[in-house]
């Protein structure tokens, strides 16, 4: 069995997954998101990871015998180095104490590998859309992927969050905006989907600015009155912008198949739109789409592990690297 730890951003996560991909535990600490200021998450700091990582690992290990653990896996990057280091140091310590090998995993490969846990096997095209990342990948094996396109400015989840802020909605912005959108008319306003951006790259900055201008032109009272329509039209534009690139990517495939990962995969409209494509589509359960350690364990099954003690100098990395 594999014990995996993930601390690349806000959440402290640990999971135990078997070699065949059976999830024994998948623990995510969210000690209540502080919505003090429209989506501010102070507890992302490394100190909080430090306080949480041991209890989270203990909870993931409940009912599991340490003797059963044969590999420790950890997210090495990309992310905040200070936050990543808590996971890396913890994983190194746990592995070294038991002379276990260690597998260093790329966070983005983790989002791709979440699909393997549901039995969805390569080759497929994978859309990963979250607060910090938005990209399309061609997945041909279990160890990596080819990036087909990525956002040139904002991530899709960020577009949701910032749109929610412009409409004065609460945090987290994505779910709040989608909830409001359900009662609105998505054809009421026409927002740009960056159709002019050629190829498979995404752009959401223009959409955000278009909503900003619309809110400004309408004024406070009209914006309030048409809020649901604005939310529905804005959500529609984000989903169409994503699906436009997905469709372009699938057109180039002999046997098109689609997988989706990242927190935005929880969006109902996106799921429905993807399911209507007429190709095999896999969307992992919500808990495997948002940041979690089970997906890191899944990826670790296909990583060459580093034997003890050669990983003791392992470092975290901040920036995006090819998986």
């Amino acid at each position: 069995m594999i014990l995996a730890i993930e601390t690349s951003c806000d959440d402290t996560c640990a999971a135990v997954v078997t070699r065949t991909g059976e999830i024994r535990s998948n623990v995510v600490s969210s000690q209540g998101v502080h919505s003090r200021f429209g989506g501010v998450v102070p507890e992302w700091a490394s100190r909080h990871h430090l306080e949480l990582v041991n209890p989270v690992v203990d909870q993931a290990m409940e009912g599991v015998d340490w003797e059963e653990i044969e590999l420790v896996a950890v997210t090495q990057g990309p992310g905040l180095v200070g936050a990543l280091l808590v996971g890396v140091a913890t994983a190194k310590g746990l592995a070294a104490a038991r002379r276990l090998p260690l597998a260093a995993v790329n966070h983005l490969q983790g989002h791709v590998a979440a699909n393997f846990l549901g039995g969805f096997e390569p080759p497929f095209v994978c859309l990963v859309a979250s607060g910090g990342h938005t990209f399309l990948a061609r997945v041909e094996d279990h160890v990596g992927y080819e990036t087909l396109g990525q956002t040139l400015d904002d991530a899709a989840g960020e577009a949701f969050d910032k749109g929610a802020r412009l409409l004065g909605l609460g945090y987290p912005g994505g779910p709040a905006l989608s909830k409001l959108a359900a009662s609105g008319d998505s054809t009421a306003f026409k927002f740009p989907i960056a159709a002019k951006v050629a190829g498979l790259d995404f752009s959401f900055a223009g959409l955000k600015t278009a909503l900003l201008y619309k809110v400004r032109d309408l004024g406070e009272a009209e914006t309030e009155r048409l809020k649901a329509d604005l939310a529905a039209s804005y959500e529609h534009a984000i989903v169409e912008a994503l699906m436009l690139r997905v469709e372009r990517a699938l057109e180039a495939e002999h046997e098109p198949r689609l997988a989706i990962g990242g927190g935005v995969a929880a969006n109902r409209l996106l799921r429905e739109r993807a399911q209507s494509l007429g190709v095999p589509v896999h969307v992992p359960p919500h808990a495997l789409c948002t940041d979690n350690a089970a997906m890191i364990a899944s990826a670790a099954r296909h990583v060459e592990p580093t034997p003890y003690p050669h990983y003791l100098a392992l470092d975290a990395y901040a920036t995006k690297r090819a998986a």
């Binding site: 992310g79 905040l80 200070g82 910090g132 956002t151 400015d153 969050d161």
Partner: protein
């Protein structure tokens, strides 16, 4: 002395960023303020491009910071929006972004004023809307 420039669209805002970048040396920090959609990331993108960054320059809002390798050293692009109320948190958390020879651009600096070394601040930039795609860019000093 405050230098004020009016730009008509994102391309001009990028050019303004590129122009400012020419005045920077390793170790300099530039604070970039303005409301949502004011063009902060666009301005920084122009600056980073002119400092030799190739490939996408994306918003760091969620991940807090991005590091790039420029033509003459490391470049950091931070967004402190999500760090409001960070006072009392681990002050070393952002250290990797503030390497001695790094040129650092900080969006939403007012959200966590103790998160960057004040003595390294070379310029304070403020962007605001002037109607349509127009923006006012004020650079201090």
């Amino acid at each position: 002395m405050t230098k004020t420039e009016l730009t008509a669209g994102p391309e001009a805002t990028e050019r303004a960023g590129a122009e400012l970048a020419r005045t920077l040396a390793p170790g300099d920090v530039v604070l970039v303020s303005g409301d949502l959609g004011a063009g902060k990331t666009t301005f920084v993108r122009g600056a980073l491009r002119s400092l030799g960054v190739e490939g996408p320059i994306t918003s760091p809002t969620f991940v807090v910071g991005h590091m790039h390798e420029g033509a003459s050293g490391p470049l950091s692009h931070l967004d402190l929006y999500r760090l409001a109320g960070m006072s009392g948190e681990d002050p070393g958390l952002l250290d990797p972004f503030f390497a001695d020879d790094a040129i650092v651009f900080v969006e939403w600096p007012e959200q966590a004023t103790d998160a960057f070394p004040a003595e390294r601040v070379k310029h304070r930039v403020r962007l605001s809307h002037t109607g349509g795609d127009g923006r006012r860019i004020e650079v201090d000093p």
